[in-house]
Point group: C2
Chain length 190, copies 2
C-alpha cells in the first residue's frame, strides 16, 4: 500500500453543509458552511469556522448568538446560493423565499424550511489564521414535527446532504447503511 | 410547517467517522471520533473533541501531536471496534491488524490501511465541559496512491463513510450526487 505525501490540506469526509444565520444590523442573514463540527457533548456545543470578512460573522459579533440550520436535499439550490453571494449585496432571505423565526435567544434567526435548527450562544472564539473558529453552546434545538420519530430528529425523514470536496465537488445524499454503530465492531473483541 | 423545541442536543448531519491516533507512553493507540471538523483553511487545521478520560488524549498531551485517519467502508468493523474498547485494556493496533507508519512529525502514528492520513500538531486546546476540543494544524497529508486523481484524494476511490446518529445509528456510505457545489445555486441569482 504505497503512500504519497501530498502536502498540508483540508481533507475530511464527509463534510456537512449547513446554513449559519445571524442578525446583521438587525436583519437576518444566512451563509453556507462546511467547516463545522460538534465540539462538546455536555453541554452541547458546535464549532463553525468563519472567514473574517463574512457578513454573518459581523452579526454574530453584534449579538453573541447565531443559528445552525440543517437543510434537506430539497434546499440544495438555496444552500449553494447562500454560499455564492454575500448578504452585503443581496437579501438572501428574500431571494430564497425563506420564512424566518426566532426562539429563546431572540436574536438568532432560523429558517423554517430547514428540518433542524440549532440556536447557539457564543462561548468561545479562536483566531486561527484565515478563519475565526466560533464555538457556540446549543441552547435549543427546533425540529420540524414531521421529521421526528419518538421525539428525536430522524435522518431518514430529514434527508440531509453532504459536500464531497474536489475533485468530485458534488453535494451528495446520505447513502446506504453498512453497519450498526457501537455494535458491528464487537466481533473483533473475540 | 410546525416546529417543536426538543431541548439542547448535539444534532448534525452528516458526521464523519475518523480514527484519531497518538503515541501513549510510546505505544500507538487509535480511537474513533465523530465530533470533529475542519477549523481553518490557511494554514489547514482540524478540531477533534476528546472526552477527558480518553487514552488517546493522554498521548496527545505527551507529544503535542496526533493523527486523523479516514477509514474506508472496508474498515467499518475496525473503526467501530476502536470506539468500543480503550487502549488501556487492549492493543487495538494488534487487534485490528493495522500497519502503523510515521511521517515528518515523527510522533503521530498513522494507519497504512486508511486511505487518507492527516499529521497534526496541536495549536490550541479548549476545555469546554465534557470534552476537550483539540485544534491541530495539519502539517502533512498522506494518501494511498491508488486513491488519488491528478494528485488529489478522490472520494470515489476512498469510499469513506459517515455516522448517522440515533435513531438510525448506522454507518452509511456516501450517496448519490444531487448537484454541483458552487454552481447549482447560480440560477437563484437571476
Amino acid at each position: 500500500m504505497s503512500k504519497i505525501a501530498i502536502g498540508p490540506r483540508t481533507v475530511l469526509y464527509p463534510l456537512p453543509t449547513v446554513l449559519a444565520g445571524a442578525n446583521v444590523d438587525g436583519k437576518p442573514n444566512f451563509s453556507t458552511y462546511a467547516w463545522c463540527g460538534i465540539a462538546n457533548s455536555s453541554p452541547p456545543m458546535i464549532s463553525v469556522a468563519f472567514q473574517h470578512k463574512r457578513h454573518t460573522l459581523k452579526g454574530i459579533k453584534q449579538n453573541g448568538t447565531f443559528s445552525v440550520n440543517i437543510p434537506s436535499v430539497d434546499l440544495v439550490k438555496e444552500a449553494d446560493y447562500c454560499g455564492l453571494v454575500s448578504g452585503r449585496d443581496r437579501d438572501k432571505v428574500a431571494d430564497c423565499k425563506f420564512n424566518v423565526f426566532y426562539g429563546k435567544l431572540e436574536s438568532a434567526p432560523m429558517i423554517e424550511e430547514c428540518p433542524v435548527n440549532l440556536e447557539c450562544r457564543v462561548v468561545n472564539t479562536l483566531h486561527l489564521g484565515s478563519h475565526e473558529l466560533v464555538v457556540g453552546q446549543i441552547e435549543e434545538v427546533h425540529a420540524t414535527e414531521s421529521c421526528l420519530t419518538d421525539g428525536v430528529p430522524d435522518v431518514n425523514k430529514i434527508h440531509p446532504f453532504l459536500w464531497a470536496m474536489s475533485p468530485l465537488n458534488q453535494y451528495c445524499k446520505i447513502g446506504e447503511p453498512i453497519g450498526e454503530a457501537f455494535s458491528i465492531g464487537k466481533e473483533l473483541k473475540a
